[in-house]
């Protein structure tokens, strides 16, 4: 099985690796990288971008036209994600501005216009990684790539097609508190996986912002890890984030989702096992 030299680079505030198998299309690999970098350029709030320009408008109380197509597509997905997570995924929530949130925003996707009833600013966080991986996967599929593994910071993974040796891609999510332990083993095929956690290596990094609960802007301290698998990387990100901050009722509804695979591990209890919808007793 041929395996091209992987593409490894820094983007979205972390490291990204793109692995292609059964293909020697270097151009497709570079195009996938450019797709991720284009999302980074559009959604970052750490340097001037379409999002920082939008935030300036929203903070100043001015309506804004969205000219950047990547940002517009992201906002469309955000609007749907906000509804699908009962408001638990909210890129406008901010501990410094209690009450601010997506519910203050009026977004007209057809007219590409957005405005807010009060000052808000958007921070896409992990959503950006899943959204970027989706676009990179689209580029690879369009180029005829049949097998690829994409990874952004180890918490966001997307695969194209099957494993190069056939069947799904076997992935084991390590236990965040037990170095040799495994939290979950899953197989992926044309899917994305997102992991969110309040515990484990790296969660105490000084650069990492605290996870806040959009409903009351409190800091989430309960020791949890969540895993979401979805056809869409952006949706997987949204769901793993929402599960991390969900109360019992909403977590139950998010977990009881039919086709998609979602897991919530609550380490505040003695045995850290996936919580089933029928046995929600989290905090």
């Amino acid at each position: 099985m041929t395996a091209m030299q992987p593409e490894r680079f820094a983007a979205m505030g972390t490291r990204v690796e793109l692995h292609l198998f059964g293909s020697d299309d270097r151009g497709a690999l570079l195009a996938a990288r450019r797709a991720i970098e284009a999302v980074d350029d559009a959604l970052t709030i750490h340097r001037p971008s379409a999002t920082t320009a939008l935030n300036e408008c929203l903070m100043a109380g001015r309506p804004c036209r969205i000219n950047d197509p990547v940002l517009l597509d992201a906002l469309v997905e955000i609007e749907e994600a906000y509804a699908a997570t009962y408001g638990l995924f909210d890129p406008a929530a901010d501990a410094a501005r209690p009450g601010a949130g997506w519910n203050m925003i009026s977004f007209d996707r057809d007219d590409a216009r957005i405005e807010a009833l009060r000052p808000v600013a958007l921070d896409f966080g992990g959503f950006g990684k899943g959204f970027a991986l989706d676009r990179a996967c689209d580029v690879l599929r369009a180029a005829g790539v049949a097998s690829a593994f994409l990874c952004a910071g180890e918490s966001s993974i997307a695969v194209v097609g099957e494993h190069p040796l056939g069947g799904g891609w076997p992935v084991a999510v390590p236990h965040p508190l037990q170095p040799e332990g495994v939290l979950a083993e899953v197989e992926l095929c044309d899917e994305a996986l997102s992991i969110s956690s309040t515990v484990g290596a790296g969660t105490a990094a000084p650069e990492r912002a605290a996870m806040i609960r959009p409903t009351d802007t409190s800091v989430v301290t309960v020791p949890r890890t969540t895993v979401a698998i979805d056809r869409s990387g952006a949706r997987a990100e949204v769901m793993s984030t929402a599960l991390l901050v969900a109360d019992d009722d909403r977590a139950g509804r998010l977990l009881d989702c039919g086709q998609a695979r979602r897991f919530l591990f609550d380490f505040s209890r003695e045995a850290a096992m996936p919580v089933q919808p029928g046995e929600m007793a989290l905090q």
Binding site: T14, E17, G126, E154, S155, V173, P174, S197, G202
Partner: protein, 420 residues
């Protein structure tokens, strides 16, 4: 801290220095540190030191000397009585005290002199000490003029006495470890160092009724000091020369009294570019009315950046995800295995591994290692290798920078320096 705790702290510090200097290329890059850390201070009489200048810095040095295993303070000297009185409280009652350094030199009973006086008298005090047959440890910067720096080096060579200058970063485990990682190629060839020392302070100390502004605030006046260049930049210029393994070819710069228009005549803002062979640069700023960017050296190579004050290394290309590397190898071998991956998002910054904990004043620190090394150098009559050249070139670079700013023109590296 108990004696046992102190011994453990000291041992951990020394181990850190030895570990950092054991790597390839470090023997030539930091021979002084290897020599100082590797030498177990011999038993026997302690090296007798006379300290000239017992202000804040002088008293800090005394505290460190008193914790070494091979040095002792035998005499102290200051022409300002309150400073002398504060120093007396630190040393044994048997320690002799003088108001005039010549009287201290004439009284004898010393092996070496420690100089912590205002910059413009470093050279005179050092030359007098050499004339008295003594070795010299002097605070950085070396002297107020390049000619005086050269005279100190020459006199030390002619009299065959040790001259050691205080540059604590040269003994600091974090810096040594950073240099080790540079030598290992982790950040690629260094092409630029961007350094700053920014403070938000007037740098002016209150003047007691029995003293004068000139005596207390000598750093603010040109006849005594080159201000930011000799008091702060010297440290970082030494780091620049050390990590670039060269001296500058020339320097351009701009200085101004931009904020503290209070009668001082040294710059409160300086900005300079030092050029090195091969197009490499050391870009430096220092100012006294904004502390946002503090004190740092950003050592920049093609593969990464090291910021030793923060103790961090940043890679341009992130390190490989080992699980994915293994997956690649598995697929090549036709072997399908589960990929163990996933957790909180990986962050790109990796800390420099700093041996030991932070060691502040009152415990073991690099200043003490300097003195233990100096003590052994005095006993053997052989200076710590490589140290004086580093210090000499750092002082010359700082004073050359001052000249570039004063004249508004590029200054080339002097050709008449003494070979150390």
């Amino acid at each position: 801290m108990t004696d046992k705790d102190f011994d453990l702290t000291r041992r951990a510090f020394i181990d850190g220095v030895l570990k950092a200097t054991a790597a390839a290329g470090m023997a030539a890059a930091a021979p002084w540190a290897i020599s100082a850390a590797g030498a177990e201070p011999a038993a026997g009489d302690r090296v007798r030191l006379g300290v000239i200048g017992t202000g804040d810095r002088g008293r800090t040095l005394i505290r460190n000397i008193l914790k070494t295993r091979n040095c002792t303070v035998t005499a102290i000297c200051d022409d300002y009585a309150p400073h002398l009185a504060k120093a007396r409280a630190l040393v044994s009652p048997a320690t002799r005290a003088f108001a005039d350094h010549r009287a201290m030199l004439d009284a004898g009973g010393l092996d070496a002199i420690v100089i912590a006086t205002p910059l413009n008298v470093h050279a005179a005090h050092a030359l007098d000490s050499f004339d008295a047959g003594l070795h010299v440890w002097c605070e950085k910067a070396m002297a107020r003029t390049i000619a005086d720096c050269t005279a100190m080096v020459k006199k030390s060579q002619d009299s065959r006495k040790v001259l050691q200058i205080g540059h604590q970063r040269m003994f600091h485990p974090t810096y040594l470890n950073a240099l080790r990682r540079v030598k290992a190629g982790e950040i690629g060839p260094i092409t630029q160092i961007r350094a700053s020392w920014h403070r938000n302070t007037s740098w002016r100390r209150p003047v007691p009724p029995d003293s004068s502004d000139r005596r207390i605030n000598w750093r603010l006046y040109r006849d005594v000091s080159a201000g930011l260049m000799t008091e702060l930049a010297t440290h970082q210029l030494q780091v620049g020369n050390w990590f670039l393994d060269a001296v500058p070819t020339r320097v351009i710069g701009s200085g101004s009294i931009c904020f503290w228009k209070d009668g001082r005549d040294v710059y409160d803002h300086v900005a300079l570019v030092y050029e090195y062979a091969g197009g490499r640069k050391f870009v430096y700023t220092s100012l006294l009315n904004n502390a946002r960017y503090g004190c740092e050296e950003q050592i920049q190579g093609s593969k990464g950046t090291i910021e030793p004050e923060l103790g961090r290394i940043y890679q341009e290309v992130p390190p490989k995800v080992l699980a994915l590397q293994r997956m690649q190898e598995d697929v090549k071998r036709g072997h399908k295995r589960t990929v163990p991956i996933g957790g909180a998002t990986w962050f790109p910054e990796l800390p420099v591994t700093t041996p030991g904990d932070s060691l502040g004043w009152g415990e073991y620190d690099e200043t003490m290692l300097q003195f233990e090394g100096f003590g052994e150098a005095v006993r053997s009559g052989k200076p710590l290798p490589g140290l004086l050249a580093q210090a000499y070139h750092a002082s010359v670079a700082s004073l050359l920078g001052e000249q570039a700013m004063d004249r508004g023109e590029a200054m080339t590296w002097p050709t008449d320096l003494v070979t150390v």
